[in-house]
Symmetry: C2
């Protein structure tokens, strides 16, 4: 065994421990922490980030990577060891450019931002958040300045979420989605009150019990997963056998159930990473977009399909008496009803990507300096009108709805739309290989799907870039057309059924 490799593995394990501990601190911050803990939590997270970052940019790591260069050239590039050296080198080179104090300050600022965001929401006033956003923008600009002048400063942010892709790679995809979807949304027929089947008051306890049952059928088990309430649903893996899903159940809808399926998609990715990658930086997903392709696949391609509910709907009816008289077909139309709405996380599949496009465009304008933060709320509303034809009545239903902007965590939103695109490319590939999955879903069987995803995507963890992972799984580059064709078919089918 190569001694430098052993040293490298020990060093990255220590970094992994620090990062996964910080992951738990974040999970707790958004689930159980009394608000009085916020200030100390920001310090705790900043300290863990600082210690991890010091190690990642250390001369010791540089020396190890130099010593391992010959070994890396000898090894199969797909092997765990070669991948580890390659990915750690990339992380190291990025970390070298960023002062540790700035990195820690960004994390501290993120914790503070979450508190300010909660306060601004409680007061339904964007101005409460504004001073913090100015500070955040200053930090974000300092971060961007750490990297050599790229074609676009936004590239630096894209690279953090989609290693290897630049704005030039994703911009055409988002433009194409916008070009195709704006007219489709404008031409949407009146949904004829399809969503009315889901008007009612659905007991939170019953939704939770049903969701746990459903998740367990999908592959959640209590030995390695948990489900907790929060304000803004998310998933975090503390280790591949400690997967935390969070959701938010409301009495007035079933959004929390679909959030469970969404977060389950993320969780399954982390759960099925190869055990040989544990305690290395490879033990997570390839990119944010690949991750979102998994969550959107479970939420929408599986979870809004008729076969899926053929199996699950009787149980849902047993939990929610309000649905006793709603037929499966009517329920299915209701969960797929399409009409412009205010809240991104509750948007239907057709309008969803436009929520993303508008955020992506606003982020780029803020970063380039053509849009002032003071004007962000109005600009948000203007794009809502332009793309979706509706007007946010207040900040909570507009610019304050997502926590991502609480600290200007820019760069992530685009990954949701790219993830939608990839989810269809994967779906077509897996359906062509596995044949008719719908019969299996109708019986509540998801093993074949899980295995295909595990074998073709999950097990590789973070070995490959987003572009490489997409190419490997579907045999080609990013392509929005399958996703757009799927949406067209869906609009037509639902119009015909209405």
């Amino acid at each position: 065994v190569n001694a430098s490799l052993v040293e490298l593995r020990n060093l990255v394990a220590e970094i992994w421990d620090l990062n996964s501990a910080r992951g738990l601190l974040s999970w707790d911050e958004e689930t159980h922490m009394p608000r009085g803990g916020a200030e100390a939590r920001a310090e705790q997270k900043a300290t863990l980030e600082r210690l991890a970052h010091e190690r990642l940019r250390s001369d010791e790591l540089a020396r190890l990577l130099d010593a391992l260069a010959p070994l890396e050239r000898e090894l199969d590039p797909d092997s765990d060891d070669a991948s580890l050296i390659r990915v750690v080198r990339r992380d190291h080179e990025k970390a070298r450019r960023v002062p540790t104090e700035l990195q820690a300050e960004l994390v501290r600022n993120g914790s503070i931002g979450y508190e300010r965001w909660l306060q601004a929401r409680a007061q339904n006033d964007f101005r409460v958040l504004l001073p913090h956003l100015h500070r955040s923008l200053e930090l974000r600009r300092r971060y961007i300045d750490c990297f050599e002048a790229a074609a676009d400063p936004y590239d630096v942010l894209v690279d953090d979420y989609e290693p290897g892709w630049t704005t030039a790679d994703i911009d055409p995809i988002l433009s194409r989605l916008k070009e195709a979807l704006v007219p489709m949304v404008a031409a949407l027929p009146d949904s004829g009150g399809a969503a009315d089947a889901l008007r009612g008051s659905f007991a939170v306890d019953a939704q939770q019990a049903f969701s746990l049952w459903l998740l367990e059928r999908c592959g959640f088990d209590r030995e390695a997963w948990s489900l907790t309430g929060t304000v803004h649903p998310f998933e975090v893996s503390i280790s591949p056998t400690d997967i935390r899903l969070t959701t938010r159940f409301d009495e007035d809808g079933l959004g929390g159930v679909f959030a469970c399926l969404h977060e389950f998609g993320h969780g399954l990715y982390e759960r099925q990473v190869s055990p040989s990658l544990v305690r290395t930086p490879l033990a997570t997903g390839a990119s944010a977009a690949i991750h979102e392709s998994q969550s959107r696949l479970w939420e929408n391609l599986v979870g809004r399909g008729l076969p899926f509910w053929r199996f699950a709907y009787p149980q849902l009816q047993a939990h929610l008496p309000e649905l006793r008289d709603v037929t499966l077909e009517r329920f299915h139309r209701a969960i797929n009803a399409m009409r412009p709405s205010l809240i991104r996380v509750e948007a239907d599949e057709l309008t969803y990507s436009l929520h993303i496009v508008l955020r992506y465009e606003l982020e780029r304008e803020v970063v380039s300096g053509t849009l002032a933060l003071e004007d962000l709320e109005d600009a948000f509303a203007a794009k809502m009108r332009a793309y979706l034809g509706i007007d946010p009545p207040d900040a909570v239903h507009g610019v304050l709805q997502d926590m991502h902007w609480a600290d200007l965590g820019f760069g992530y939103f685009a990954s949701y739309a790219i993830g939608n695109v990839i989810s269809l490319q994967l779906w077509e590939q897996l359906c062509s290989e596995l044949g008719d999955l719908e019969a299996q879903f109708g019986r509540g069987e998801f093993g074949a799907l899980r295995e295909w995803l595990g074998a073709r995507v999950h097990r590789y963890g973070r070995k490959y870039s987003a572009a490489e992972m997409t190419e490997r799984a579907v045999g080609g580059p990013l392509d929005p057309e399958p996703y757009l064709a799927y949406l067209s078919r869906k609009v037509n089918e639902l119009s015909a059924a209405a």
Copy 2:
């Protein structure tokens, strides 16, 4: 401002962040973590411990402490700064003796022990835990060997929980308790089924709702506190404004309610530490015994008194219909019923300290080598018979009942008994100064009590040793007689009332 002092404060703040993050990891481990997370959790905690310990024993800290020695001599010893230098020096000198790898291994071993203990309990088999105990004893011995030969190797463990006290200080107290209590327990009159008033099935949800109401009246507020379920109740403070109480509600009794009051006593101590001590090692309690004096004071001296329930009982009855026909007086006798029982945490006040004495004696025998771990289960049962006249029917109701021994976390148990003793010394002092508190309790008013405890004990945090803190608060050394007199009075009163 002294530059070395600024450096010291930065360094201890970093250590504090690491330790408080580790506190959250432990809290999560015993509340929300899926069991699959155990292995990674042990590594995460060991890494945080290692990094904190490296800093605590560092040459950098040694240099700072040397540089600060002249300042320390100039300052008022009671000042925050002088206390910080003094306590950090003590922690530093202890840490210098212990190799960091051993310290981290003790923490890792603690996490593993908790899992093994859960497994052994599930199988109700002490032998499941035994291999882990052998490993733990080896580590514990290596730890003891790091310190110069003390009068008794057990001194090393006592000093970790009761800084400044040795076995010679606490042994006479425990001997006196044993000498007085064994005959009192043997002579206990039949309680005449007083506890039967609490036979029944009490809905867990209702107990929880009542407990939250009760805690809020005592001083718990949701901005700075939380309450969560666990296997073995405990309290941990993540910061002075992030206090975590845990409890275990069972349908067949109200033990969970009293556990809430117990943990509240711990939490209030941490909550009322002076804000000027935040992010320093002074921002916690003086010792385990002082801490237990607070928990036992709230659980027993406040929480088992008739005046307290005059205020709280109508609410309890409103939550638990089973108690509608139980009079306040009968309820009060029931929660104070005295009879030997198997489980320490459910023991009445009279028998409680004997549960402690037997554990303390067994720990000393194991440490000195006169008792083999293989014989621990039988020795435990033999002492239960000798001191309490009852026989554990199985391991779960005997040697496996406490998590403290899952990794031979020896040295702590004695602090519970010492805490009982201190609680009465404090109680007599505060009653003599505050006069009749009972009328206030009867109205659900606890402000005067909280303030006295805050001003006389809590605000000092860890500035003083257990001996100094006791002396300052009650004007004298440890004295078991007030506690024994209190128990005698209580036995007599309850016998008379029966």
